[in-house]
Symmetry: C2
Subunit: 317 residues, 2 copies
C-alpha cells in the first residue's frame, strides 16, 4: 500500500462505512465511496455526521460517491462494511478495485468474512477489523455517532505486520482510535461470545439486553450459550479466554441498559438478519471441531424459522 | 362410585369441562359445575353448545352452577378441567367435594397432574384422561365444538379396572366417545411428542403448525424435539413407541392446516401459559432419568423468557 497518497475505497457505505470513510476523508485522504440505495441522497446532501468527537460533513460536490464499482479507481485499501448477508456480491463489487497490492479490510460482523474474501481474492490481501462503535442513521440521512469508535484490526493470517501498523496509524491520525492486534481470531470469537446470545436471542425473542440478563430464564439461556461459544472457540480457534469471561460480559451488558442489538432491530424493521455470519458460521466451526453446541444449533434454527415465519405473516410490528 | 345415580362435579368449567359435563347433564346425569369468571354469565344464559354431534343447551334455571366449592355436594366423580397453571388451588377447590370413594379424573394438559392430585388426595382416587377435542369459546359464551371428542381415560396406577370401564361406559352412553386404556402414561407421553414442539415453538415463536412443518428450519426443530421426547419417554416412562412415530405425527399435522395451538393462542391473548405441565415436568422427568434433552431444556427456558418478556412490554399483539 502506498502510504503517502493511498487510494481508499469504501464498499458498503452504510453507517459504519460512511463513518470510518468519512473520518479518513475529513483528514485529507483520497476516499471513494460505493453507495447503493443511498446514492441519490448523498449526491444531493453529501455526508453528514454528528459525533461527540466532533461533527463533520463532506459537501455533495466534494464527496467521491459512486453507484457502481466499475467507475471507481483501483484502490490501495478497500474497507468492506457490507452487511454480511450481502457477501454473495463480493466478487462483482470488489473485483473492479483490485490491483496487485490492494489490501482488503473487512469490518463486517461475525465469522467467515475474511475466509470468503481470501478464497476469492487471495489470502495475503485480507485483514479483518472489529468495530466497537455505536452508530445510528437518522431518517434524514444524518449519521449519528453515539459512542465509542475503537477499531481493532488484524491480519487474517499472521501477526502485527508493518503494513497492519501503517493502516492503524492512518486511522489514528484521522481521529479513529485504532489498535493493531496480533490475533484477529481471538477478537472475532470474543465478539461472538457476546453477539451470539444477545443478537440471536434478541432477534428470535424480540427482547432487549436488560430483559435477557434481568430474568432467570434469560440469564440461563445467555450464560449457557456463552459457555458453548467459549468451548467452540477453544476447539475451533485454539483460543483460551480468561475464566471470568462470562461474568465480565454480563457485567459489561448491565452497563448498557435496555439495548436493542442490530439483529433485533433488523428484524423489527423487516431487514435481512445476519444469521449465517453470527450464528451459522460459528456453529459450523464448532461442528467441524467436533464440539457439541446444542443451544447454538437450536438458536440458529430458531433464527432461520423467525426469518421464514416473518415472510409468511403480515407485518404487525 | 355409585353407578346408578352418580353425583358428578366439574372443576374448571372452561370449554373442555363445560362440554364434557354438559354432555353428561344432557343425558340425565346429576352434574354440578364449578365456575369462576363465567359464573354470572351462565347464571343468566345457561350453557350453550354448538356441535356437529348435535347442538344442546342447559337453561340457566336447570344448570347446577356454583361459584364456590363449599356450596357443592360431595361427588362420586370429580372431572378436573382446570388449566394446569391453576394446580396450586387443587386443595381448596377439590377438598370440599371429596368423600371416601370419590374418583378424581383429570383431563388437564401435560405431565404431573395425576401425581399432584395423588399426593394431595391419595393415589387410589386418581384417573387421567386425554381429551382429543377441538373446542372454542365464543365471545357470547357459546361453546363451539369443532371436531373430534374422543376421551381416553386410564387409571393413574394400574390397568383397565372395572370402575374405569364403568366411567367410560357412562361417557359413551352420554354421546362422548370414551376408551378405557391400560397405560395412561403411554398416552400422556404420546401427546407430549406432539404438544412439546407445537405448543412450545408455537408460543415462543408465535408460529402456527403449517409454518413449523413447512419450513426446513421449523421441521428440523420439530423433529429434533420429538426425538428427544421419545427418548425421554423410554427412559422416564419405560415407553417404547413405534419407529415411525415422528413420521406419523408430522403426517397428522399436515392434515391440520394452519393450526394455532392452545399455548400460542394463550400467549396472543395475554393468558397464562401451561409451561410447567407441557415443558417443565417432562424436562424434569428426563433429567431424573438421566436423559439429555438439550432442545427441550432450551425451549422450556425460552417459554419462560417469553412469559417474562411479555410482562415487561406493552401489549402490541
Amino acid at each position: 500500500m502506498s502510504l503517502e497518497e493511498p487510494v481508499i475505497a469504501i464498499v458498503g457505505s452504510g453507517a459504519v462505512g460512511s463513518y470510518y470513510g468519512g473520518r479518513l476523508a475529513q483528514h485529507g485522504h483520497d476516499v471513494h465511496f460505493l453507495f447503493r440505495s443511498d446514492y441519490q441522497m448523498v449526491r444531493r446532501d453529501g455526508l453528514r455526521v454528528k459525533s461527540p468527537d466532533g461533527d463533520f460533513a463532506i459537501a455533495a460536490d466534494a464527496l467521491r460517491a459512486y453507484d457502481r464499482p466499475e467507475a471507481m479507481p483501483k484502490a490501495d485499501l478497500v474497507l468492506i462494511a457490507l452487511k454480511a448477508t450481502a457477501n454473495h456480491v463480493y466478487q462483482p463489487l470488489i473485483r473492479p478495485m483490485i490491483k496487485d497490492d490492494t489490501i482488503l479490510l473487512t469490518v463486517q460482523n461475525g465469522l467467515g468474512n475474511e475466509r470468503q474474501l481470501a478464497a476469492l481474492f487471495g489470502t495475503e490481501r485480507v485483514m479483518g477489523g472489529l468495530a466497537f462503535v455505536c452508530l445510528n442513521r437518522m431518517p434524514d440521512g444524518v449519521i449519528l455517532h453515539l459512542d465509542h469508535g475503537l477499531l481493532q484490526i488484524g491480519e487474517f493470517i499472521g501477526g502485527a505486520t508493518p503494513r497492519l501498523r501503517r493502516v492503524a496509524e492512518m486511522f489514528n491520525l484521522s481521529g479513529v482510535q485504532c489498535q493493531p492486534i496480533d490475533n484477529l481470531s481471538y477478537g472475532r470469537w470474543e465478539k461472538l461470545v457476546w453477539n451470539i446470545p444477545f443478537n440471536g436471542l434478541g432477534a428470535v425473542m424480540d427482547t432487549p439486553t436488560d430483559i435477557l440478563i434481568g430474568t432467570e430464564a434469560g440469564l440461563t439461556l445467555v450464560t449457557g450459550l456463552m459457555a458453548e461459544v467459549i468451548e467452540a472457540a477453544a476447539a475451533a480457534g485454539g483460543i483460551h479466554f480468561p475464566p471470568d469471561m462470562i461474568e465480565r460480559k454480563i457485567n459489561h451488558t448491565k452497563s448498557m441498559g435496555a439495548y436493542r442489538t442490530s439483529m433485533q432491530i433488523d428484524r423489527q424493521e423487516g431487514r435481512e438478519l445476519e444469521i449465517e455470519a453470527i450464528l451459522g458460521e460459528p456453529l459450523r466451526a464448532a461442528d467441524s471441531a467436533g464440539v457439541r453446541t446444542p443451544s447454538l444449533r437450536m438458536l440458529y434454527h430458531l433464527a432461520r424459522l423467525a426469518k421464514d415465519s416473518d415472510r409468511n405473516k403480515p407485518r404487525s410490528r
